[in-house]
Symmetry: C2
Subunit: 328 residues, 2 copies
């Protein structure tokens, strides 16, 4: 028995893949799991929903802040939320890992556990992957999903008169990141156990709200990954409508203490903070909102996103090639 | 109109994605293409085949040797070959790109063209992707496929008495790499236009041979990506059989001049060279081989791979975390 205290280089590619695979469990939708040239997945609906994301150390996570387990959960969450945002049920993940030979095997096993533990409760399995050498830890996740007989909900179906609704939290991850950054090099003190920091390190997307919204006639839906105003902007542009967000409908209370500590306007976190993977959707005004969804605004004729009738000129969401490194 | 002479950082993430998407074409199997939270793909067989690979600059390709176009074709080929090796028809790619802000937009557009041009002839479309900042150019490709009513061919069905057969070339890519390395810093001279170098920069997997083999009752199949002996070893282990390769059945002629130039035993290239993405399969001995396949050995009781009845002690295929950087 080799030790998990070994590095990837000492253990070798195939043994690493074997050790990772041994920690995974395959659900009944998996017809052939990891270990062959490709996996085989059931697609009972005759359609499959697919999305992919790349996470890079130093930009999307830091190993000094996040455990491998947390990175695994976060990487899975970002992709599973994309599937939920189509109104579909996640069924599978494929995960490519690039890592230096010096990385402890333990970190990769923790990553696999995190991917597994985020996926299993929603019915998805890690069905395949790749492990290669790289100078920087890099994680590529592809998520697959089953529309389960429902029409996938795109970004482009919102109509003037629709209600804009939100499921899940916004601003928590940005607040957690601000607490971490604010304390950088120093002591986190009493905020070390803050649910905001936990929300940054391990987001909790409201997965079931996606299929529920599709079931209840959502006209458009999007995963809020880059910031509420920015992502509603994508939805508005795709639907060729305007959206007005009601600031009074946004929940600030959990953020107020952290905002005071960091000297930040909590609206910047709520309106522009990314990575919580809330879901935003539009519903016909007369439909009533399904459980888990709350009204945060309305769809109007025109274009762009306003907050309380005014343009939002705050932090503005993420820019992946912006001047300052955006994250973390 | 912005110029493609710009860098990724100047153009910005969303404009880059838009420019890439504009160059892609979506086949009839794509129900919803790029631009939403996820794509939607037809899966008429109620099953989907899925595989993923990560390619890292300096390890899987070099920008001074390969154009973006060639990297795109090679990245697509590696994944499409995995789908073919299941006997399935490739239908879609999802591609994550990590790149420094200083990378010219042109390189990424060339990459997209290469991905498209490798995929379209086999009926696959690039249906989704992600572009993020990274210090090293990193390309994550996930390929999806349709079994098209056939049972996927795994690595584990070979039986003693089966014929081992090969479709496509082996050793060409390794020979091309050796020519490039041999000439490193110097002039490639008359070998600059060598088909071996082309084979290294842009492999040509025998895609149709995969479904054809499944149709003709192949009992096991594998994509030869790491080296013939090593990959046959994976097939033999999964099937719990032994394989003996007939060295006289392997085609050396196209490699002889390059082998002499580099002072290499051409059998090392043929038996241990990776990245050609040939397909190796086993067929019941009485079945006769389908077009495109040639006999290279036989399946025996036992375990392991021999060449002409003897253990092969040559270069041994790739090791992704080995002592020396394995590639290129």
């Amino acid at each position: 028995m080799r030790s998990v205290e070994e590095t990837l280089g000492e253990l070798g590619e195939f043994a690493v893949i074997e050790a990772v695979t041994a920690r995974l469990r395959q659900g009944p939708q998996v017809l052939l799991g990891p270990g062959d040239d490709a996996a085989v997945l059931a697609a009972p609906d005759r359609r499959v929903v697919a999305s992919t994301d790349l996470l890079v150390e130093g930009r999307h996570f830091r190993r000094e802040w996040s455990t491998g387990y947390q990175v695994g959960r976060k990487a899975a969450a970002a992709n599973l939320a994309d599937i939920a945002a189509m109104g579909a049920r996640p069924t599978a993940l494929l995960v490519g890992v690039g890592a230096p030979a010096s990385l402890p095997v333990r970190w990769v096993l923790d990553l696999a556990d995190g991917l597994r533990d985020e996926s299993e409760p929603v019915g998805a399995s890690v069905i395949g992957g790749d492990v290669v050498g790289a100078d920087t830890v890099t994680i590529a996740v592809t998520a697959l999903g089953d529309p389960a007989g429902r029409e996938p909900v795109t970004r482009s179906g919102a109509r003037p008169g629709d209600v804009v609704a939100l499921a899940g939290r916004v601003g928590w991850s940005a607040a957690g990141l601000a607490l971490l950054t604010h304390a950088s090099g120093g002591d986190l003190g009493e905020v070390a156990e803050s649910p905001l920091i936990r929300a940054h390190l391990q987001p909790e997307p409201p997965y079931p709200a996606g299929p529920v919204a599709a079931e209840h006639g959502a006209t458009a839906m999007i995963d809020v990954s880059d910031g509420l105003v920015q992502d509603l902007g994508h939805l508005a542009a795709a639907s060729r409508v305007a959206i007005d967000v009601d600031p009074a409908a946004l929940e600030l209370t959990p953020l107020l203490a952290a905002a005071a500590r960091c000297g930040v306007d909590p609206y910047d976190w709520v309106l522009a903070g990314g990575e919580d993977h809330a879901l935003a959707a539009t519903f016909p005004s007369d439909a009533g909102l399904p459980p888990g969804w709350r009204r945060i605004g309305r769809v109007l004729a025109g274009g762009g996103v306003t907050v309380g009738g005014r343009p939002y000129r705050g932090a503005g969401g993420w820019a992946h090639f912006g001047g300052d490194p955006p994250v973390p």
